[in-house]
Each structure stands twice: as C-alpha cells, then as structure tokens.
C-alpha cells in the first residue's frame, strides 16, 4: 500500500466533502438557477453578481470572512455559542458551508444557462396539455435540463475536490477531521515527501480528467439526441 492511513483518511474526507457539497448545491442551486433564468425582477443582477463572487475572490478572502463569521466571536458562531452549540469553524460542517459558497457559481451558472435556453415555449405547450407549474418543472424542465445538471454536478464536485484556500482558512488542516487531499499534498511537499505527494497528485489529476471527459462525452450524446 502506497497511501498512508492519514492520506487515505484525507481522501475519504475529500470525497465525503465533495459529495455532500454537490448534493447541497444541487438542492439549493436548482431553484436559485431556475429563478434567475425566469425572473423579470430588475435587480436580479445583484444576486447574479453575488453568486459569481467566488469566481473572482481569492479563496483566502472568502475563507477569512467565513472564519470570522463562523468563529465563536462571529455573528453566526456567537449565536450558536449562545444557543449552546459548538461553533462551526474548524469542523467538517464548517468545511461544507465554505465549499457550498465557494462552488456555488459552478453549479448555478450552468443550470441557469440551461434553464434559459429551454425557453418558455415548451412550458406553454405543457400548460396547454394540462400540466400545472410544478408538474411542468419536473416533467419538462428537469428532463430537458439534464445535460446542464450533469455539467453542474461534475463541476461542483471537481471544484470542491480542488479547493485549498477556503478549507485551509476555515478547516484549519486538522488530520482526520478537516484535512483534505489538496492540503495533505501541500504538507507532504513541505516536508519533502515527494513520493506521497506524487501518488495523491497523480490520483487527483487522473480522477479530474476522467470526470470532465465523461461530462463532455455524455453532453455530446445528449446534444445529439436533442434537435
């Protein structure tokens, strides 16, 4: 076995984090993306800008503010402390919150684009065929948006696996709790353990490439299947 137990734990935490984050993002991102694609509210650009913020912000900035907010003296952390709960900074839940915010645009933007491209005609057709708004959403929009969902899920997942700054700031690199692969690699390199760093890095590189390849291959098939 070339992976140490600590590395294996980091890998498991990374996968758990990426899966949880992707699931939460799909649940929260779908209604948000749908709303952004359909609303005629004239200030929707404010929300769009907020969603896109993690794309341009250095992860450390985001992580810093999250640490402040979630820490025992922050607004949310303080409230939780007052309620008798443990603050979220330096916990796995804190990591999830940070990752959800950090990867939000990677899920919302492809979904918003897909919903917008579906347009309103299919929905009008469905409503003349007796489908209520909820019915239309699940039987027309979701199936027509499947390529967008696939892209969103894989991008959200891959981006979470690849994050470094935010998890370092808010997670604190606690082995077995908040240490993820990207940070483990950094630790190995710092102490010149290049072979372990190679195994982890190579594994991530391969996995990321495979995931993206599958997305593009499937999207091509979906595109061919649609007129």
């Amino acid at each position: 076995m070339t992976l140490s137990d600590a590395d294996l734990t980091a890998l498991i935490i990374t996968l758990k984090l990426a899966c949880t984050t992707t699931a939460i993002l799909l649940l929260l991102g779908t209604p948000l993306a749908w709303w952004l694609a359909r609303t005629r509210w004239r200030f929707k650009f404010l929300i769009e800008a907020m969603v896109a913020l993690p794309l341009v912000l250095p992860p450390t900035v985001l992580g810093f503010y999250l640490l402040i907010t979630l820490g025992p003296h922050g607004a949310i952390g303080g409230l939780m402390d007052w309620l008798g709960m443990k603050p979220l900074a330096f916990t796995f839940s804190g990591l999830v919150i940070g990752s959800v915010i950090y990867s939000l645009p990677f899920v919302v933007q492809p979904l918003q684009g897909t919903f917008a491209s579906i347009g309103t005609r299919s929905l009008e057709v469905a409503s003349t065929l007796r489908a209520s708004p909820i019915d239309r959403f699940f039987t027309v929009e979701i199936p027509l948006a499947r390529s967008g969902f696939l892209t969103a899920a894989v991008l959200g997942f891959a981006h979470t696996v690849g994050e470094f700054g935010v998890v370092l700031m808010i997670g604190g690199n606690i082995p077995g709790q908040t240490q993820v692969v990207s940070i483990a690699i950094y630790d190995h390199v710092e102490v010149l353990e290049y072979s372990q760093a190679h195994w982890l890095s190579g594994g991530l590189l391969l996995a990321s490439f495979l995931m993206l390849m599958i997305v593009y291959a499937l999207n091509r098939r979906f595109l061919v299947a649609q007129p």
Partner: protein, 355 residues
C-alpha cells in the same frame, strides 16, 4: 351556446381591443395581416396571455371575468402552435400521451388510436421528435392536441412553417378532423386559401380590432371588405352532388341558383360540397348565350357594384339568394348598363371543388 370573448391589451406599440361572439361549432378562422394581433387574441383565449380586464365564456363556463382567471392548464382546451413544439426528451408516443394522461378518464372522448389514425402517424410512434420531418412533427402535435379531448381547439397558423406539399397533406387531415370530430376550432391564418378550405365562420382582424365577423360565404361576398379587393376575391357556395355524366366525364352539382358542372369526381350522389368561384372567372351577358363553350350559365340579379380602380369594377350578384362575385372592366359594365336590380346571366369559366 357560443363563445364570447372581450379582451383589451395595451402595449407600447400595439393595442388589441376585441369584443367577439363566435359559434361553438365548426371552424372559426381569425384572418388578418401579420402583426394585426391574431396570435395575441388566440393566446388571450388560451390564457397564456393575461389581459387584466378581459372576459371569456366558452359554452356555459366562464374562463375569465373580473373575479376569476382560470389558468391555462385548467382550461379544457388544446393549442397547436405555429412551429410544432414537440418535447425533445420524449418519443412520439410519450408526446401524444403527455396531455392525455393528465385528463381524467371520464373526460377522454378522443382515444389515442383515433388521434393516431386521423393524423396517419401510426408508423412514427417510436421515433424521437428530431427524427421527424416538419410535416410529420406538425401532425404529431395536432394529434397530441386532439388526445386531450379538448372542448375547444386553438390553432395558430399550423401550416405556416411548411412547404406547399406538406400544407396540402395536412390540410386534408384538418378537413377530416372538421368532418369527424365535433370540436369547435379557432384557427388563426393569413392565408385566404386556408380560409376558403376550412372556415365556416370568419373574423377579420386589422390593427388589433375586429373589422368584420360572420359567416364565411357572407363575408367573402361583402364588397366593402378588403378581401373583395384581393386578386383572389371569390364567392363560396354550398352545393349537392346531383349526378355523374359518364358520357362527358362531368359531375353535376346543384345549388340554389342553378346547376353547375365540374370534371367528374368520385363524390357520392347527394353529398354536400363546398365550391369556390373566383370573381375574375365570372363574366356576364344580357341574354342567355347558347353558342358558347362555357357550360355554367345561370340567371342572376345585380346587387351591388363598386369600382375598384379607373378600369375595373366588382359586381356582387345574387343567384336566387346566393351571392356570386364578378370582376369586370369598367367599360363592359358601362356598355351593359349594369345597375342594382338588373337581371343578367353569369357565365362561369371554372368552379373549384374545395372538399
């Protein structure tokens, strides 16, 4: 029972202001140039467009008034859009079933088999939307609309995106629909040809307003309406098949004003047919000509004359109560001294059989 519709929609560049009563049987065609508000009117009837102060009653149920607005998916209607909008993620069969599945079993009057058969799409059921030709797609969307057993069928220029051949093909299906299903149809069109073949009732729409609404035979023979000025101006008459003349290869058709002959067809004796007589194919004589090649000659009375330009006039004639149009040169009309009440003979060069 009838359909009563009042809508007013104010947009920056366009106002729709209509107050209409339509029959709840047969095909009502809303006719007008593009941009006159035909589609907006149809969308208002479907509920896809919401005009705040509208009123809509179909038969004895009110779909919209000041108190209520029944949303589209709760109206027992079906809508065929201009471009066939099949769901790309479903095959033909699933497209057909999409609406039908959502209709309570007790309300399903048109079976899937009937719809499939009427539109001749039995061989296409397993195909995806993108594997169909334009004409096939439109047939599937018409069948899908029928399969919800609508109490009102709305069609927005369903033939506009098709070439002439496909138009002919679908037109046949539409006519059989008209004959076999008892569903009132509101059909938007800017083609006189479609009006001629399909319409029972006609609404002329211009710039968001109704300029005329009535029986199609009556409207086509009204000289004050713009259709009388079109080069396709024509009269529509109903006739019954009287007899086939094997010796000369002709079929004789009787209408109130007399007997007409057309090239022999295989129509059943006694069946009712719709005929079109184009105004420029009708000439007039003062005496009943016998030394002529024209077969269709019958007495008529001049009802109304209007001049179309400095050389042409349009004459409305009554053949025992049936209006016929004739386009003549101003000179002929002057020489013959045509005026309302005068008895003359109409000579009809060609009669087109529409059904």
């Amino acid at each position: 029972m009838s359909i009563e519709a009042r809508f007013r929609i104010d947009r920056k560049d366009f106002v729709l202001d209509v107050d209409l009563t339509l029959p709840d049987k047969g095909v009502s065609v809303i006719f007008g140039p593009s941009g006159c508000g035909k589609t907006t009117l149809l969308r208002s009837i479907s509920g896809l467009e919401h005009s705040p102060e509208g009123y809509l009653r179909v038969g004895d149920s009110v779909w919209q008034d000041s108190q209520q607005f029944v949303p589209t998916h709760k109206r027992p209607l079906a809508y065929v859009f201009q471009e066939a909008s099949l769901f790309a993620h479903l095959d033909v069969q699933a497209n057909l079933e999409y609406g039908m599945k959502r209709v309570p079993k007790a309300d399903r009057k048109v079976s899937l088999e009937t719809a499939v058969e009427l539109l001749g799409i039995g061989a296409l059921l397993k195909r995806k939307a993108n594997q169909l030709s334009g004409g096939e797609r439109q047939r599937v969307s018409i069948a899908r609309a029928l399969a919800v057993s609508p109490q009102l069928l709305l069609m927005d220029e369903p033939l506009a995106s098709l070439n002439l051949e496909r138009k002919q093909e679908i037109m046949q299906y539409l006519q059989s629909l008209h004959n076999e299903l008892d569903i009132p149809i509101i059909y938007v069109s800017h083609s006189l040809g479609e009006v001629a073949r399909l319409a029972d009732h006609m609404v002329l729409l211009d710039d968001g307003r109704v300029t005329a609404s009535g029986n199609v035979t009556e409207l086509f023979s009204r000289l004050d309406l713009p259709i009388a000025q079109s080069h396709k101006a024509a009269a529509f008459i109903q006739a019954t098949v009287a007899e086939h003349d094997e010796a000369f290869g002709l079929t004789y058709l009787d209408f109130a004003g007399g007997r007409l002959s057309v090239l022999q067809s295989n129509l059943a004796i006694g069946s009712t047919v719709k005929l079109r007589i184009v105004a420029r194919d009708v000439s007039l004589t003062l005496k009943h000509q016998t030394e002529t090649s024209i077969l269709n000659i019958f007495p008529v009375i001049v009802d109304e004359i209007i001049s179309e330009n400095h050389s042409q006039v349009m004459v409305k004639l009554m053949a025992n109560g049936v209006p016929i149009l004739s386009r003549l040169s101003l000179k002929s009309a002057t020489v013959m001294d045509l005026k309302p009440g005068k008895q003359v003979y109409a000579q009809v060069k060609t009669v087109a059989l529409l059904s």
